[in-house]
């Protein structure tokens, strides 16, 4: 049976030119809520400026991206505004590539989850009725009298 709380896990997604991003394997409920709130703060319509940036920000843990050969820091410890500003200053091509890689990863995870559910649904549940100790142990020479 699947667990109800995930342990944090990270996944490395390769990009072009030997670059990569490390992302969260899955978002938990709170992170998903934060993402929805950022994309659609009032629950009606979406903030088009935030859709891709917010998703990248929600998943991103680290990368090996550079500017003029120098590594550009990315970490969950960076202040939120620094993370967002850094993502917004990526080239359009790189940001689209990262977003697509994350979307592909999400789809893969969704399929894996669905398969996991199918497997657990077809597995017969364990017998909830425990056998009597006497039946399990076979004939006993112990007497209650």
């Amino acid at each position: 049976m699947s667990d109800d709380f995930d342990d944090p896990e990270s996944v490395r997604l390769p990009l072009t030119d030997g670059k990569y991003v490390d992302i969260k394997k899955r978002l938990n409920h709170g992170e998903t809520e934060d993402l929805f709130a950022r994309i659609s703060p009032y629950g009606v319509g979406v903030n088009r400026r935030e859709v891709r940036t917010a998703k990248i920000d929600a998943y991103l843990l680290a990368w090996n991206l550079t500017k003029k050969g120098e590594p550009v820091p990315m970490s969950p410890d960076l202040p939120e505004n620094v993370r967002t500003d850094t993502i917004r200053n990526l080239t359009s091509a790189r940001a689209v590539e990262i977003h697509k890689a994350i979307e592909a990863h999400e789809e893969k995870e969704a399929v894996a989850r669905a398969d996991e559910k199918k497997t657990s649904a077809t597995t017969p549940p364990a017998d909830p009725i425990l056998p009597l100790p006497s039946a399990a142990a076979g004939p006993s020479d112990r007497s209650v009298n």
Binding site: D7, P8, E9, S10, K24, L61, P73, P76, D77
Partner: protein, 101 residues
Amino acid sequence: MITDVVGSIRWHYYTAAGIHGYTVSPCNKAGTAWDLVATVVLSDAFKMAQTPLVFCAMHTKKGLDGKCVVKTEWRWPILSCQLVDHQLTARLGPPEDTAHE
């Protein structure tokens, strides 16, 4: 004994608690066990109940040239901890490899 200001408690890639003011003192000469007393400013109750937790202490020092500032992070595994109000007391294991930025 190490006394400083900025630190955090981590659970995997999450920050389980932010720390503003801490003291770490060795329990023995070998440095295999340490005591932490810290003031917690923000914490996530669920994450603080998970394992493994790691105490991270940020500090800056001058580089070998005496000019550039090097950011360093000391990390200790938390063996046990207790959070009462905003006061955290914890027993730490030996420090892990230092991370440089």
